[in-house]
């Protein structure tokens, strides 16, 4: 990309071994997710792969994703990731409890409040990620290994994982989350490309 990108690459390279903790959340904007080409300066294979995963981490550990990949049986909500109000539970299959399913409130598309104050997010298939796909509170390394493990990622091969990240509707919602919610950085297309590039470079996980 540009001068800024090159500078950032140097930083990324020197921090490649560090796993970013999902702590302080900086305001992100759509330009804040780099493309695979921005990592061309890193050597192929492990070094580049780790840097690419760290970049994917900006999406994976964004509230849009973490809120529905909870460690417990209850999702969190909002940019501040506060307990979901009302206090809903996962239920048997991640679609909520009898009498209060996810789709009791969440429709197939985002629903904007008439006064512009916010929205109820929606998607064709609104539900919680299964417990074995919990990400909240985990390190990038733990998440990475989980993502690669067919016994914990819904039986996906790496190719299927790329497809999921690039094309899945609910994943895609993260970039079109409705009023009152900060979108995940970049775009689903970029996220898919980063995933592909990460896999291409060996799908390495940080420690």
């Amino acid at each position: 990309m540009m001068r800024v990108g090159k500078f950032a690459l140097i930083i990324a390279g020197s921090l490649a071994a560090t796993s970013f903790v999902a702590a302080a959340r900086q305001p992100t904007d759509r330009a804040a997710l780099r493309a695979p080409t921005d990592f061309a300066d890193l050597s192929q294979g492990r070094e580049r792969s780790l840097a690419l995963f760290a970049e994917m981490g900006k999406v994976i550990q964004h509230p849009r994703c973490l809120n529905c990949h909870p460690r417990t049986d209850r999702p969190t909500q909002g940019d501040a990731m506060t307990p979901h109000s009302p206090s809903v539970v996962r239920g048997k299959d991640g679609h909520g409890a009898p009498g209060l399913h996810c789709d009791t409130c969440h429709g197939t598309t985002n629903f904007d409040f008439a006064d512009g104050s916010g929205s109820v997010p929606g998607d064709q298939h609104w539900h919680l990620a299964p417990a074995e796909m919990a990400w909240a509170g985990k390190s990038q390394g733990e998440i990475c290994r989980q993502l690669k493990d067919p016994s914990r990622n819904g039986g996906k091969s790496l190719a299927a994982l790329i497809e999921h990240n690039a094309k899945d509707g609910l994943v895609g919602w993260g970039w079109n989350p409705g009023a009152g919610r900060e979108p995940a950085p970049g775009s689903q297309r970029l996220f898919g490309e980063l995933t592909a590039a990460w896999v291409e470079n060996g799908a390495h996980c940080p420690d």
């Binding site: 506060t82 307990p83 109000s85 009302p86 206090s87 008439a114 006064d115 512009g116 104050s117």
Partner: protein, 726 residues
């Protein structure tokens, strides 16, 4: 016979009582004559001896309910009193709501139609019974005439009138009864003859509220009706300085945009369209007189005011200059935030001003005053304004305000519309949460000393916060007296023997409107008195139940504390994970003691498993309704103690807006509640509010015992660190 403090009775009843005789006799007061009822109904209800009931040829007994029914059970309660003295069968009873007429329907304690101060039953006790007894007397006279038998030979039971082997229904006598004179002097039953009062009668509104047919104001639909909303300023005390409604008017279905005193009104063909229109308004606000302080600043100001001389309410001996051997002294400062009432049905009104006449549909708490306030804005005389009373979806005090501000606003909205079409005006939930009329913000400073023998030897209490009535049309009494009693009721006479008791209050002035949130002053005074007292006991090793028993003087107070301790098995040690806490408060004439069982929840907050409550509210008209009010009062109190606060940020704008950030108790958080009602012969006292005050301090007391943490600022989420990180 238990000793009890003298009940407040209307002046005429007191004269009757003094006049003697075993049965209460009735005098001139009250029975508003039948002519006050509109004749249109006469055909189906031929017998209408007074303004409170009518009996049809089908034997139905329709009670005209003078109080709003907003969940407290007043409609059923009033009907019970009538049915009792009438000797009707409960299945005959129906209810209708009274229209606006103080001459017929005023609250006898308040001088106007009103529900407030938990007085619905207390003020109606004699009046409704007399209404029923009067009707019974006429039916008996009619039967006596028809059967040519002496009246003394006639008995009435479960809606049947009988003499010897003759028997008939009410319905068969109503035509005759309508022609007979209505006596003004009828005996009432002695309590030992009650067959309905004191029993669990099913409520008359439960079925309609369980199948969607109960009609609330917001459900009223009339031909040609327009929907109105008002855009309110973000800061209290700000006024509109100009607006541009063109974007709003461009939206299809938007009919009009107009200024009112409280903001800018939009009128549209539907509620969603009105919402869109309101969001499209461009309004300039004049903030020059607005409240711009934050809650933090308001608390600081109130804390400062508490130390100024202010108004002295109690001065009962001096605080000891030096403490005797073995005495303990503690000090505390408590911060109680603004609270929203947030009834489930937001404020609303339907109005139709046409040909110089006004029809109003409202779930009105102050029926005459509110209707008059609306009519006043329209230049319509009170006599030309008719209220069609509806059920109200909760109030907790919100639906009545000292200055009838909502009604004035509604009247202005109707006037701004300017047409003969009905106008449905409502507040959104955001309007409700942000619209003020909160429980006042209060700061309480206490310093007290307890002697080695458990006697309180000094109790210095300085409170400061907002007054509810000073500066309003109801403020006269407060100004005369020098202070607003509603600010500190419960702290002035907590019922304990307090030596060296001093209480002073300072008034924090602010444009933020405040109101009588369920249990009013008791909502915060009971918290500080009971939590502080408990700490005083702890400091000197006194058991909280025994300590209270040693200091209470009223037998009825002692009885409820004894009873609740028994219910909860207070003496039995609990596990380390669960503790008990106790609190007592007398409010609105009723005595309530509560014990709670608490553990630390997974969110770090108190988890209340169970609440035991012992209640003495005089004669228990309907024990199940009493239990329901205590259960509800406990749940209401708990949700607010745990989560409830309205906070103003920097610059004075309310930070909350809806139920996602004005958090309400949910079913999973509701404790199990066990209520015991102490049998009593005293006239009935209030029950809508008295369940609220003891709950929060009981929880605070249990929490302190469990964790050592003292909660001096409510809500609990504010004070408990681990909870705020959840």
């Amino acid at each position: 016979m238990t000793e009890h403090s003298e009940p407040i009775v209307p002046e005429t009843t007191r004269r009757q009582m003094l006049a003697g005789a075993g049965a209460l006799v009735f005098s001139f007061l009250v029975m508003p004559p039948a002519r006050a009822v509109t004749s249109g109904r006469a055909r189906s209800h031929p017998f209408q001896p007074n303004a409170f009931l009518k009996i049809g040829a089908d034997s139905s007994v329709t009670v005209i309910v003078k109080h709003v029914e907003f969940g407290q059970g007043a409609a059923t309660g009033l009907a019970t009193l009538i049915a009792e003295e009438l000797d009707a069968d409960w299945s005959q009873l129906r209810i209708e709501f009274a229209h606006n007429d103080d001459g017929l329907y005023k609250n006898l304690r308040m001088g106007t139609m009103a529900v407030g101060g938990s007085t619905s039953m207390a003020n109606s006790w004699t009046q409704m019974r007399t209404a029923g007894a009067t009707a019974r007397a006429v039916l008996v006279a009619a039967a006596a005439k028809r059967w040519r038998v002496p009246e003394q030979s006639i008995s009435v039971s479960k809606g049947r009138i009988a003499s010897g082997c003759k028997s008939t229904s009410f319905g068969e006598l109503v035509a005759d009864a309508a022609k007979l004179p209505v006596p003004t002097d009828v005996p009432l039953k002695a309590p030992n003859r009650f067959t309905l009062i004191g029993t669990r009668l099913p409520k008359l509104d439960s079925a309609a509220k369980s199948d969607g047919t109960a009609m609330f104001t917001v459900d009223v639909k009339l031909p040609g009706m327009v929907y109105a909303l008002v855009a309110h300023p973000p800061k209290f005390g700000a006024v509109p300085a100009g607006f541009d409604g063109s974007a709003a008017m461009a939206i299809p279905g938007v009919r009009k945009v107009a200024a009112v005193k409280s903001g800018v009104a939009v009128f549209a063909d539907s509620f969603p369209t009105a919402l869109k229109a309101r969001s499209a308004l461009q309004i300039r606000w004049d903030d020059s007189k607005a409240e711009t302080r934050s809650t933090t600043e308001l608390f600081a100001e109130a804390a400062r005011l508490a130390d100024e001389p202010g108004f002295t309410v109690v001065e009962n001996g001096a605080y000891p200059a030096a403490l005797p051997e073995g005495a303990r002294e503690i000090e505390a400062i408590y911060y109680l935030p603004h609270l929203a009432h947030a009834p489930m049905e937001t404020l609303d009104a339907v109005m139709r001003a046409r040909d110089g006449k006004l029809d109003v549909w409202l779930g009105s708490q102050f029926q005459v005053k509110e209707t008059a306030a609306i009519a006043g804005e329209l230049g319509i005389a009170e006599k030309d304004a008719l209220l069609h009373q509806c059920y109200a979806g909760g109030s907790f005090g919100r639906r009545a305000t000292p200055g009838n501000e909502f009604d004035i606003e509604a009247g202005q909205v109707c006037r701004a519309w300017g047409g003969p079409e009905p106008v449905k005006f409502l507040w959104t939930r955001e309007d409700d949460i942000r619209g003020g009329f909160y429980r006042p913000v209060m700061v309480h400073k206490l310093r007290a000393a307890i002697a080695a023998d458990g006697q309180i030897i000094g109790w210095d209490h300085r409170a400061a916060g907002q007054s509810i009535v000073i500066g309003t049309p109801l403020g006269g009494g407060a100004v005369k007296r020098g202070f607003d009693k509603m600010m500190i009721e419960g702290a002035d006479e907590p019922g304990y023997r307090l030596n060296g008791h001093r209480l002073s209050i300072g008034v924090l002035e602010s444009p933020i409107p405040v109101n009588w949130w369920r249990s009013v002053g008791h909502s915060h005074t009971a918290y500080v008195v009971e939590a502080f007292l408990d700490r005083l006991f702890a400091a000197s090793g006194v058991d909280p139940v025994a300590g209270r028993l040693a200091l209470l003087e009223d037998q009825r107070a002692l009885a409820v504390v004894h009873r609740v301790a028994e219910m909860a098995d207070w003496q039995r040690p609990r596990t380390a994970e669960r503790t008990l806490g106790v609190a007592y408060a007398k409010s609105f004439g009723s005595y309530v003691a509560q014990i709670v069982e608490v553990s630390r929840g997974s969110d770090g907050l108190p988890r209340v498993h169970k609440v035991w409550a012992a209640v003495d509210c005089g004669i228990a008209i309907n024990p199940d309704i009493i239990r329901a009010q205590i259960e509800g009062g406990i749940g209401f109190a708990l949700g607010h103690a745990l989560y409830g606060e309205i906070t103003l940020g920097q610059g004075g704008e309310v930070e909350q807006s809806n139920f996602h950030d004005y958090r309400s108790l949910r079913i999973g958080e509701m404790p199990e509640v066990d209520v015991a009602i102490i049998p009593s012969d005293a006239d009935p006292t209030g029950i809508g509010e008295p369940g609220v005050p003891p709950l929060a301090p009981a929880v605070a007391n249990a929490w302190r015992k469990l964790t050592g943490e003292v909660v001096e600022r409510l809500p609990f989420t504010r004070s408990i660190r681990s909870a705020s990180q959840a």
